[in-house]
Structures are given as C-alpha cells and as structure tokens.
Amino acid sequence: MLGFIFKRVLAAIPVLFLVILITFVLVRLAPGGPFDEERNVPPQVLENLNKRYHLDDPIHVQFFDYLGNLLQGDFGPSYKYPNRSVTEIISSGVPVTMELGFYALIFAVFAGSLAGIFAALKPNSWRDYTPMSIAMIGICVPSFVMGPILVLIFGIWLNWLPVAGWGYAAYDKIIPTITLGATYAAYVARLTRGGMLEVLSQDYIRTARAKGLPEWKVILFHALRGGIAPVVAFLGPAAAGLLSGSFVVETIFQIPGIGRFFLQAAFNRDYTMILGTTVFFAGLIISFNLITDIVTVWLNPKLRKDAFEK
C-alpha cells in the first residue's frame, strides 16, 4: 500500500515538470503580453517593464530561473498586481475556494447519492422519475444560469438569503454551495442510480436478500459498496472540476477565491500567475486522482490484492 502511494508520488514529479514546461511555452506563444493595454505603452517603458520582470532574458534562462525559484517555494511576482507575490495571492484565495469546493462536494455526494439510491430502488416508477428529473434539471442548468436564478428568487424576491459574499453575512454560503454543487449532485445521482441498478441485479444481493436481511441493510451494507464505484471514479475529476471551475460561482457571488484569478490570469497574460495557479491545480488534480485510485482499489477486493502486493 505504502509502496503504491510512494510510486505514484514519484510519478507526479515528471507530470508536474511537463505541466510547467508546456504551460510555460503555451503562455508565451499566446498573442499579447502582460503589459498590452488599450493605450500603447511607449517602447522604452515597455522595455523597462520587461526588464523589471527579467522578461528580456533568453527564454531558457527564464525557465530555469522560474524552476529554481519554484523549488524554494517562490512563485514569483504577479505582473498584474505588482506589489503582490503569486504565492501571496494563491494563499489568500485557496482556503476560500477549498471551503466552497468542499461544501459543494459534500452537497453533491449526499444529495446526489440519496436521490440515486432512491431512484434505483423502484426503477421506472414515479419514485425513479421524480428525483431523476430533478437531477436532469441540475445538469441542464449551468451554474451561470442557476446562480442568478437562485439569487433572484431567494435573494431579491424573497429576500431570505444574501446575494453575494462568503462569510460576510449569515447564511451567505448556502446559494453558492448549491449553485456550484448542483451539476455535480446531478451527475452523482445518475451515476449512483446506474451503479445501484447494476449491483442490485447481481447474485450476491439476491443471496443477501434470500438470507432474509432487511432491505435497508442489504442496500447499505451490500449494494452500496459496489453501486457507488462509478461515483468514486467520478469524484476525483469532480473535485478537481469543482475547484478549477469555481470561477463562475466566485464571480457571480463575489467570493474572494482563487478560481477568479485562475481565469483572469489567462486573460491578463499574467505569466507567473498562470503558472502558479496551474501548478497548484495540477498538484490538486494529481492528489485527487491518486486518492480516487486508492479508494477504487479499496472498494474492489479483487483489485486490492493485485495493486498493493506488487
């Protein structure tokens, strides 16, 4: 088990290196530089700006400088926000985004799997169609539509919940969490339903039922473990998607997370910020996928032997 994890962590190093290298090249190939604005900066000033950030060095020198600094935990200065370092901006936004993503994930897993199990128990009845239709609506309605609609109803018309913010006023985390989590909840619901249907027709469930176990025990202790496997595989990408996709929700609700910077940095051609956020998200994605793989293997006894004993 430990060996497996160790190997995967080792494998992450070349992955990260390639991500940095490719991103480094990509951002510099993109047209427009960090200092291009509506008003043209005089060439002399531009030259000095480039000098300020060592953008006039040969590109390979820049790359190795960057790597060197990165190894010391320094992501460099932001070009867009000259008096902030990328490290500072990331560390101010990450806890917020993580919290938002965490709540959204919890919401997605609970609401989604509940609805999925409920639907799978009586397939093709109203008890199946109702939660599945709600889930479908969750998928159809993207967050950039869902957010404004929820705000309009609960924030403006009913005046029950705050329309923006994160921890500024009571209950202001509810709408953003639902907005971000809804799509994923719907996915989870559908995947759970599919997985449960698959499992419920398997022999061992019939055996369990034949032994006269109460239905809820069958579901909870026997079926769920297998039925939730597709959901688990989905959770890795979902968690990463929740975090990197949080920019829409962060923008709509004025939440000071890192997602907004992730997108804005690309538009600003803020090279160091793009790299910083990318490296950060790459690390997250790799860890989530690793966790997913571990859980997948753990859920499936047959795989467990193979993977961990090698």
Binding site: A30, P31, G32, G33, F35, D36, E37, E38, R39, N40, V41, P42, P43, Q44, V45, N48, L49, K51, R52, P77, K80, Y81, P82, N83, R84, I89, S92, G93, L114, F118, P148, V151, G155, I156, L158, N159, W160, L161, P162, V163, A164, A169, A170, Y171, I174, T251, I252, F253, Q254, P256, G257, R260, F261, F267, N268, R269
Partner: protein, 540 residues
C-alpha cells in the same frame, strides 16, 4: 425522504424568520460610510504605477495633487498648492504649497517631497506607464527615456520649502488640469525608501500597515478581491469639511452582480462606467431617481486598416461612414443617452465642440462607393469587423453589419477576439475594420486628435498624413484659444475628408447612485471628488 423535505422547509423558514441584519447601505448612511462598487481588484495603490479608472477611483480618496477639480463645473481649484503664478510666456508655473499640509503620519508636506515624487515617476527603471503624462515638462521625456540621467535638466525646481517651479516644453493651457490627475499625486519619500529603492516598483509600501498618503482618507484594510476600506484622514488640511467617515470599495467584476449588490443595499453606488443596457432601460422607466446618465468626453469609433484594399481608398471609407445610422444605434442598442458622433473629438459644452460635416446619407454613400469602383457593392470583397468580446460591441457590430449590407450591398463578417488577442491583431494591422474607444485624460481635443498622428503609438489605422501631422505639431506650440480652435477645425475637416476612423457615438457614463448620496455631481470627466460627498437619509 419526507423528513428531508420537512427539514429543508424548517431550515428555510428559520432563515426567513431570523432577524435581518441591516444592510451596508443602512449602517453606512447612518455612520457616513460610503460603499462603492468599484469594478475590479485594483492593480496597485501606488498612484505612479497604475493606469486604470479602478485604481484612480481609490487614489482620489488616498492622495491629493497640487490642484483639484470642482465637482460640478470641473473648474481647477487649489489643492495641495494654495496658489500659483504663471509666467507671461505660459511656460513657467510657480506653486506655493499650503503651509499646514501634512502627510497622514503627521510629517509636513514640503516642496522637495513633490519634486522627489515626480522624479520617481519619471525614473526609467520604475517603468511607470503614465510617465508620458509628464512629457509636457521640459526635459521630462528625455529623462524618462534614459537620454539623460541628470534630473537637474528636467524643468522641476524646488525654490524653498513651500515653493516649487515647473517649466514646460510648450505652453499648454490644460497643465493645471493635469496636476489633478493621479499621475501627478505626491508620495511620501521616507515610506517608499523604508521598503525599497526610489525606483523600485515591487514594494510593500502600499500595504495598509505601511502606507502613508496625503488625501482626505487613509488606507485601513486591503483584502484581495474582497474590499478596500478607507477612513477619514484627520491630518488632511481640509478635514473639517470632509463629511464622510470612510469609503469602502468593493471589487465587483460582474455587471449583473454589481446591480444585485446595489439592489440589495450592499453598495450606495456603482462606479464602473458601463451598466448592462437592459438594466438602463428598466431603471430609466421605473427608478429614474437612482440612475445617473452623463455624456462623457469619450468616443466610440471604428478604425480602418488603411494600408490595404479596399480601405486604402478614402472614398470607400467615406462611403462606409455615411452608411451607418448612428441615431438608430444609440436609440435602440446602447440606449443610455449616448450621442451620435460625427467627429472623433466629442462635444464639450464649455469649450470646443466640432462642427458636424456629414450625416447619415445612404444615397450619397452608394454614390461614393460607385465612384470608388464598386457600383452597388459589385466586386466588393468580404471585409471583417474585429471587436473584443463584449456584449455591447457585439450588438453594435451586428447593427453596423446590417446597415452596410442594406445601404451598400456589401458583405461584412464579424470577428470577436479575446481582449489581448484583439489588441495584438489591431496593432499588427491584421484587421479590416476594428472597434475602438478613447477616453480623455483631460479636457482638450488634442487628446483625441493626437491618436491619429503618424508617430502615435495608438494609431492602429496605418494612416499617415503629413498635413495632419503638421497641424498636430502646430497645436503643441499654440496657446491662443482662437488659433487653437482654427487648428482643431482644420484637423477635424481633414479627418472627415480622409475618414481613417468612423466615429460612431460619444460614450455616456451610466451609474446607479442612491438618492441619499449627496454632493455627487455628474460631469463629462466622470470625476467625483470625495471631499464634499455626504450621506443623508431620504425624508420619505
């Protein structure tokens, strides 16, 4: 499952019934704290480093220049300088500073602080993007471009503790206006030096714990993407007349989110220049007391690429300009009180307004196009309108596309690009027609006219005209108002004849402002000095 519904219902009722906490606006109005929706996270709070209106809006609270502007009439008023003298040739300005003026930490503000600040902003290594605003000062350009390293060659001289003298390259009558611009704001030398070199851009001196300034407000907190909070500066020379106890700025990037924040009482006013068009119509009809629409000194126009066919032909360019129904655009698309523009230079009710030399005339446009060799649009190549991705630009481009098809029978396609890609394409003259806009830094037509000079870095048309360059050069030397107006007229006439750009409309600023915000006047520069603003509950 049923229990879950009940639980949810219970929870929602709980939320609904709980005591509503008072909104920002309610507590703010009570305590004289103004809450402003300010568009975006500011890049910087160092006035010599930033370039945008988001930053300027905050700088105006934190710093003050030698002059200020009257909030209603924009007349230049004494600021940090109590008075000034101008030499007969209009080139030498001598300013007397206020003797009692203090920095927010209690240090007196002396003439050498001003000179030091201006020198700093011109230091090549600082690479201030606004340094060009000081090129009117003798020798400043040479110093900024590293042609000389001797600052004594620059026309800025400290006479004594409270007197500073500025010598200009050419006499310009808007220099006093410039002094009220953020790029001329002074900064506190000891604070900057405590956190780095004079010309070091990356510095922590603007953090709230380090910051020192001289404006009516002081910097209290700066949380990334959350809020900037300022407090009344008791050291400010005129603090007894400042009624607000503080201003809070919120970086709300999304227009819709900003409107929601306004509607739910989170902010007193929106300070971003553009409001979603549909909201404008709604507010004009239903809540006219909350919406402010002001024509501004800014133009929306289309730039031709005059270096390649078919737009290397002035007849074609004129034909296009005449085929656009500007009235329909401002009445049905932008709908926020914009005025149709027939000149690059916008109208200025107090000074110079250019004459209208042409009008919407599809028949004449057709004739011009035929004259250029494309009768009824025959053989005219498909051309492209380039714009940066934004809803307004898209709608205007769509309307223009239709007008050109209808009036000239030419095929136009649209191309939207992401902001920086768009800037790049336009600068490299890869476009046929590109949308553009220009907002003035100060009230003078030369602001707009100089864009199209052949050496201008902002001329994305490829159009070069010796006669025009001569007029621009002459304008720089001319101070006489009458003579200047003659030159403006000549430049405008030349632009209409050659039509390197099509003026479309003059922008207007649309902001939502609660009626309880007093002392907030509308003006063409969109300047709202905070010194005299206060909050007062409606008498309803």
């Amino acid at each position: 499952m049923k229990n879950l519904y009940l639980l949810a219902l219970f929870f929602l009722t709980l939320v609904a019934c709980s005591d509503r906490t008072p909104t920002n606006v309610e507590t703010g109005t009570e305590n004289q704290i103004l809450h402003i929706g300010n568009g975006d996270e500011p890049r910087e709070l160092d006035p010599q480093l930033s370039t945008g209106s988001v930053e300027s809006n905050i700088h105006k609270a934190l710093y003050e220049g030698l002059t200020t502007r009257h909030p209603k009439t924009l007349e230049v008023l004494p600021g940090l300088a109590e008075s000034w003298q101008i030499s007969d040739d209009g080139k030498t300005y001598t300013f007397s500073l206020r003797t009692g003026a203090l920095w927010s930490n209690g240090d007196p503000i002396v003439a050498s602080d001003i000179a030091w600040s201006w020198q700093r902003s011109l230091m090549p290594k600082l690479a201030s993007e606004w340094a060009y605003m000081k090129y009117y000062i003798k020798g400043a350009e040479a110093f900024n471009l590293s042609k000389t390293t001797d600052f004594s060659e620059v026309g800025i001289r400290v006479i004594d503790k409270h007197t500073i003298e500025v010598v200009l390259e050419n006499p310009i009558d808007y220099f006093l206006q410039l002094l009220a611009h953020p790029s001329y704001y002074p900064v506190h030398p000891p604070t900057i030096l405590a956190h780095g070199d004079m010309d070091q851009a990356i510095s922590k001196w603007t953090r709230p714990e380090n910051w020192v300034g001289n404006g009516p407000f002081t910097l209290e907190t700066w949380s990334i993407n959350k809020a900037i909070e300022t407090k009344k500066n008791e050291q400010y020379w005129d603090s007894e007349n400042v009624k607000l106890n503080g201003i809070h700025f919120y970086p709300i990037t999304d227009q819709q989110a900003e409107v929601r924040a306004f509607r739910t009482g989170q902010i007193h006013l929106t300070y971003t220049p553009q409001l979603a068009i549909e909201k404008v119509a709604h507010y004009r009809e239903n809540k006219p007391e909350k919406i402010r629409i002001t024509p501004t000194y800014a133009t929306y126009f289309y730039e031709f690429n005059t270096t390649k066919a078919p737009f290397d032909n002035a007849l074609v360019r004129r034909a296009f300009a005449l085929a656009i129904d500007r009235k329909a655009i401002v009445e049905t698309i932008t709908k926020a009180g914009e005025k149709p523009a027939y000149n690059l230079v916008p109208d200025d009710p107090n000074n110079y307004s250019p004459k209208q030399l042409f009008e919407y005339d599809p028949e004449e446009a057709k004739k011009l196009l035929a004259e250029a060799g494309y009768p009824d649009g025959a053989n005219f190549p498909t051309v492209e309108i380039l714009y940066n991705t934004q809803d307004n630009h898209r709608k205007v481009a769509l309307a223009v596309q239709q007008m050109l098809a209808k009036n000239l029978n030419v095929q136009v396609s649209l191309l939207n690009q992401e902001w920086k890609v768009y800037l790049n394409s336009k600068r490299n003259l890869e476009h046929d027609i590109a949308r553009a806009g220009w907002i003035a830094d100060y009230l003078d037509p030369s602001n707009f006219l100089s864009i199209l000079g052949s050496i201008s870095g902002n001329n994305d048309t490829g159009w070069k005209n010796q006669q025009y360059d001569d007029i621009i050069a002459e304008l720089k030397k001319t101070t006489n108002k009458q003579e200047r107006h003659v030159l403006f007229d000549r430049a405008n006439a030349l632009l209409i004849e050659e039509m390197p750009v099509i003026p479309v409309y003059m922008y207007s600023d649309v902001n939502l402002v609660l009626p309880e915000v007093k002392g907030w006047y509308d003006n063409v520069m969109h300047l709202h000095p905070y010194q005299r603003v206060y909050l007062e509950k409606g008498s309803k």
